[in-house]
Amino acid sequence: MPATHLMGFEQEMALCATRARGGNPDPEMLLNKLSAIAEESLVNLRGLGEGGIFLANGGRLYVDCLKYEYAGPECSSPDEIVKYLLAGERILAKLAGVLALRANLEDAALYRCNVDYTGCSTWGAHESYLTRSEPTKLAGDLIPFLVARVVTAGAGGFRPLTQTGCYFTLSPRAWHICVPISQSSTGPHDRGIFHVKDQSLSCGYHRLHILVGDAICSRKQNWLKFASTSLVVALADAGLHPGREVTLCAPVEALKEFASDPTCKTKARAQSGRELSAVDIQRHYLELARTHMHAPWMPAWAPEAVEKWDAMLQQLDGAPDSVATCLDWGIKYRVFQSHVEKRGFDLQRLRNWTHLTDLLGRCINALPGTASERELSADFVLNPRGPLRTVVGHLTRHLPSRGMEWDHLQAYLKLRSELFALDFKFGRLGEKGIFNCLDRAGVLDHGIAGVDDAQIEYAAANPPAFGRAKLRGEAIRRLHKKSSNNASNWTTVLDSTRGMVLNLGDPFAAEEHWSKKANQNPGDESSF
């Protein structure tokens, strides 16, 4: 059956490395080396009019703002999405391993980490969905879903952007979202739930670009994230206005409230006056998808997606324990809880210390002097001649009733750093990533029947079976190393030797249509 729906993804990753003799290598140098290794070891063509390289699997690798990115090829099913996500992970883990050897590093790895707990950076996991409608027209129908999706698509972690706290959240990236609708994807104050960017990269279609999601490891969760979103996009694209009955009064606040509750019971007020949980909102979309799952404008895999989506929403009734082996945030919640207990704390004491250090943090921020002179450390806070002695004296009276004592402050701060580091290392690509270690230990339940190891290996070097990604990947394989002037982007492949271009403006193109290149100067990319 020919593909009717296309979707894709971009994953931004942090490259971290350590030298054997200590100290950090220069990040730009590392990224350049990583790019050079990718160019020399992978079947590829250089980017045409854009940086990086395009791969024989139809995807793209590139560097942007000191972060390494993998954009997958256009995929026609959630099975394919999962395969190409995992294929990218394998490619990148291998590249990082070669980098460590060549640059004489003790360790080098890419991390699917979402947020930086010691700063304000965030790494995106963007999604793209092909639509007939202009993205701006879909905003109202998608925003309630994207808000509610946090309970099924969240990576889990801790609230970033707090200097002192340690609050578990279903989605660390949700805290970087400031407005319902945005033009920008990178601004710290205007990153939106819905992004109006409309860079179609095709003829006759639009491309909905979603940037509110987290990068996640669970296959089952990635499958459902793309499948459910694609169905909702299809409903909206068909003009059914699926969001109309569940429009939220304050979506950004609702996103953060939903993200703060591992039981998934928190409710937000809809403009209809109803109080709705994230599961309630998703059920609304699910039932609409069920009603129309056999419509001609729905993908062939819609019935399977409806069934899996329904099962997950039922499973969330018992959250967080019921999703502790299949959703990233559920796995992390259990793993972090176990570590907290191992260090002699429990979740309630962790919350108490978080509240206390938040208060201390506010006091410290109000002090004069540079940031380095007033850090939140046990030595600074408990210095009997320090600037916080009065505050500490006042707080001391309240500690025993909460089972706290100042001697534990240092242990709390150490635990907090450990939890942040564990979250960072959870999504490390390759065999040392915590998620991958747990998976090998056989304690996770996140497999997808349609995705196996051989298929992932195949997807690392070969394009999807349908659409222009197939044509792009096949052309790249043929033209690789034939001429350094050969190049590719999402809509064109250039064969400079023959002076021909392959036009891939139609995302569903099934056959190659080459035409004479208008500008015969092979080095000139401006005409594309």
Binding site: A14, P27, E275, R334, V335, S338, L438
Partner: protein
């Protein structure tokens, strides 16, 4: 519009005392959680002690190399 928003936390309904959940399913979930926690213990120690740097040093190092949006 946003200021009219009210969000409230509903009462937890999934306590272990929830009699609507089959006890068999619950014990299986608890067993899975236990296995996960046991496996995580070993991996966590390895992850935290790997690379010869402690958690704080790792976070600082990652921050300096960060990139990101």
């Amino acid at each position: 519009m946003e200021t009219q928003m009210t969000v409230h936390r509903a009462t937890r309904q999934n306590d272990s005392s929830d009699s609507s959940a089959p006890s068999e399913g619950l014990s299986e979930i608890q067993a899975n959680c236990r296995r996960l926690a046991d496996a995580a213990d070993a991996e966590i120690e390895r992850a935290l002690n790997g690379g010869g740097v402690n958690a704080e040093e790792f976070l600082q190092s990652a921050h300096q190399l960060r990139g990101g949006e």
